[in-house]
Amino acid sequence: MKKGLRWKILLTLVVLGFCLFMALPLKDKIKLGLDLKGGIHLVLQVKTDDSLDGETDQEINRLTEQFKKNSLTYASAVKERPGRFAITGLNIDQQTMVRDVVDQYAPDWDTAYLPDKVTFTLKPGVEALLRDQSVNQTLETVRNRVDEFGVAEPLIQRQGDDQIVVELPGVDDPDRVKDLIKVTAVLTWKLVKAGPAEDEASLLQPFGGVVPDDAEIIRGDAKRGHPGVYLVEKVAAITGSDLRTVRRGTDEWNNPAVAFTLSPEGGRRFEQVTGANIGRALAIILDNKIQSAPNINTRIGDSGIIQGQFTNQEVDDLIIVLKAGALPAGIEYLEQRVIGPALGSDSVRQGMMAGLAAIILVMSFMLVYYRLSGVNAVIAMIFNVVILFGVLAYFKANLTLPGIAGLILAIGMSVDANVLIFERIKEERAAGKNVPGAISLGFNRAFTAIFDSNLTTIISAVFLFQFGTGPIKGYAITLIISLVANVFTAVFISRLMFDITIPKTATKMSI
């Protein structure tokens, strides 16, 4: 055997071995996309304005505190929009002092001074950073929640500036998951000043109809058996970030509840607050709704329960979100796709059947039409699919419905490459060339057509990959892989098989 041939065989075997190793067993290695397998696909938009809003509130609090501390006069601090606020009613004589305080305590803000007013705008760089951070934090939180919920192989990734894609294969309880992801889960405990009352007017009556400076109005959660409105202290006694552990527990009537323990620091604060306020009600507030407002009967240390007429499932979900932490910003669903397992398995069953039927039809045709040379084509075709699956598995890419379209195109072009070569060989034979000469010319002359047509299609697929989203990307990647494989199998492997099976002295060939 010629030395060159030996290397070619070795190369072929290595490529095939690698691809088989990557792709087998098919069931575990080739991941079906959600459209074939069933599951949930969600696109979330992070309301990044929320994080700017929080930052703005904090800055207003910080500055007004400093203004008070330094006895600087101001009338009010007004938030114009998230990331922009103004402090008005300044005393013109204190302007240098004001500038000093502002420079020291608001370094992230661009300022515009008028004699009696300063306007603050968040610096563009800082704003972009905050928005970016809030998306990343949201992504992490969503990931934690999904992990706690327990989904095999979830895909959670960022898309564009402020979107997150969540793919949960095999999940069959979409509403629960959607709620679980979306709940902001900001948990606070606040002392109740008054309430519950039926409406705000009767609630505020003892306070002369206005909300006291240090208090705010929060609605009870009707679903939890607490309609009505409450007046609670603005400053939280403890918050969700003070929690150390949460687990399932029960209240005194044996109803499901969330049992928690606090961090040492949180525990000390809780003890202080409860000790000083025995007899008052302490509201447990989740996402700005009061879940329950039990009376403080005794000084409570570092553990307690959250009660609120929960079902077992609701307790489990609350535990998940408390463990995973609060979302830094709200989210909206831009897109949701739920493919039930019944439909998914139906598509796979039918898709497999159609695919098999197609491949068998094409293979039989090639065998009938090209006889022994058809065997070459069939083997080249099989190798092409093996390589495709191997590379797909290597990149951990999913096989989707559009991906199957790409596969069909690739198989079609793989057959075509062989047809081009075989027809050319026939032409050369008809023109009187001997067998080895005709094979050699056939491959050489067909090569430019195969190369140009495959490369043109690859060029278009690359642009599709660049601009496409989701399924179209899947189509493009399947196509690119199998076209590259195509040039290799049709030109290199098919040629190799002729070289091995047809001796240099042959005078006849089956084609």
């Binding site: 397992p341 039918q350 039809l361 094409v362 379209a405 069909i408 047809v419 189509y475």
Partner: protein
């Protein structure tokens, strides 16, 4: 085996004007239909609203469902029966009133909830109040917990058997009767247990897709960008490897492939979704492949037959490649036909597009690509190189 014993001698380019007229007529009819007639229906991927597939416990009548939807103000929804069981329905709904900008993000999600609760009506309320679980919609975790309480250690296995039966081809997502379980090989004991703890609800959601306006618009923009750039990329490459006139002809051929297929598609009343775009791209892929194969042969023949006029060379090349065109396109047709017949409802639209496109692709390669090269070279003659 041979399709043609001898290279055929068909004068394809004699019919170039007829070909152009046929193409123009089909495209014109399609455009009239798209812009003035039934229009091109954008599916849920590109538009907004919701697409829901539902399996019912008992056969339903489309007219009844239309009535239910009309009652909640969604008379514009399209309702289709899927398969031949009479139990599977697909609903495509678009929100009628335009919600405020702030709310519109979520309205598409609420739309589907609205439809499902309208279809369900009061079904199952009594049973749920008694603490029974709907076996047709129950999720894996809940069912496993239910089984685990009665049959310790067997919960997961039993759940798997029951859910597999629910997903099977005959049940299709919703049991009609507890007898379906026995037929699927679930033990009598288990069936009895399920009868005491569960009930069969009216329907099960097979799939639910809802897309907000933002995503649809974004997808449309990206699809257009991707198409334009890949056409430019191909044009540049072919112009570089062949001549500009060939590149222009290839792009022209591709454009008419897409236009003709879309025109015919518009008459079928089907919706355009992402898989349809993939099918169109695939047709473009096959067509460019065919076209380049012909151009390659023309390029080669021109080198050998310098004296022959281009039109003759083209005729010769087309005839030489005719066998190959038929074989290749024939195998593609076989594949697509298999998909169309056996592929099932989910890929039926896709297979239909491919079927139309691959038949049309043969025509465009043979009848259209070469004339465009001739016309282009006539209108923009290349400067002859001096000897």
């Amino acid at each position: 085996m041979e399709i043609f014993k001898k290279t055929p001698q068909i004068k394809f380019l004699k019919y170039k004007y007829i070909a152009l007229i046929i193409t123009a007529v089909i495209i014109a009819a399609g455009m009239v239909n798209i812009f003035a007639g039934r229009g091109l229906k954008l599916g849920v991927d590109f538009g907004e609203g919701a697409l829901i597939r539902i399996a019912f416990k008992d056969p339903v009548v489309v007219a009844d469902i239309r009535q239910l939807l009309t009652d909640i103000g969604l008379s514009g929804s399209s309702i289709q029966e899927v398969g031949d069981s009479g139990r599977e329905i697909q609903i495509r709904a678009v929100e009628v009133q335009n919600a405020q900008a702030g709310e519109s993000l979520e309205s598409h999600a609420e739309l589907s909830n609205k439809i499902i609760s309208a279809l369900k009506g009061t079904d199952g309320e009594r049973e749920t109040a008694q603490g029974l679980i709907d076996l047709n919609t129950v999720d894996q975790k809940t069912l496993a917990a239910l089984f685990e309480a009665a049959f310790p250690e067997q919960g997961t296995a039993l759940t798997e058997v029951v859910l597999k039966a629910r997903n099977s081809e005959s049940v299709k997502g919703a049991f009609s009767d507890f007898a379906d379980l026995s037929k699927a090989g679930v033990s009598a004991e288990t069936v009895e247990f399920l009868k005491s703890k569960t009930f069969l609800g009216k329907l099960n959601i097979l799939s639910l897709e809802s897309v907000g306006p933002q995503v649809g618009a974004d997808l449309r923009r990206k699809a257009v960008l991707a198409t334009i750039w890949s056409l430019i990329g191909m044009l540049v490459y072919i112009a570089f490897r062949f001549k500009l006139s060939y590149g222009v002809a290839a792009i022209f051929t591709l454009a008419q492939d897409v236009l003709i297929t879309v025109s015919i598609y518009s008459f079928s009343g089907r919706e355009i979704n992402l898989p349809i775009i993939a099918a169109l791209l695939t047709i473009v892929g096959f067509s460019i492949n065919d076209t380049i194969v012909i151009f390659d042969r023309i390029r080669e023949n021109q080198k050998a037959l310098r004296k022959m006029p281009l039109e003759e060379v083209m005729n010769l090349s087309l005839n030489q490649m005719l066998g190959r065109t038929f074989i290749t396109s024939g195998t593609v047709l076989l594949t697509v036909l298999a998909l169309f017949i056996f592929g099932g409802s989910v890929i039926n639209d896709f297979a239909f597009t491919m079927l139309v496109g691959s038949i049309e692709g043969i025509y465009s390669t043979i009848a259209l690509s070469c004339p465009v090269v001739l016309f282009w070279q006539k209108w923009f003659p290349e400067k002859r190189r001096r000897r």
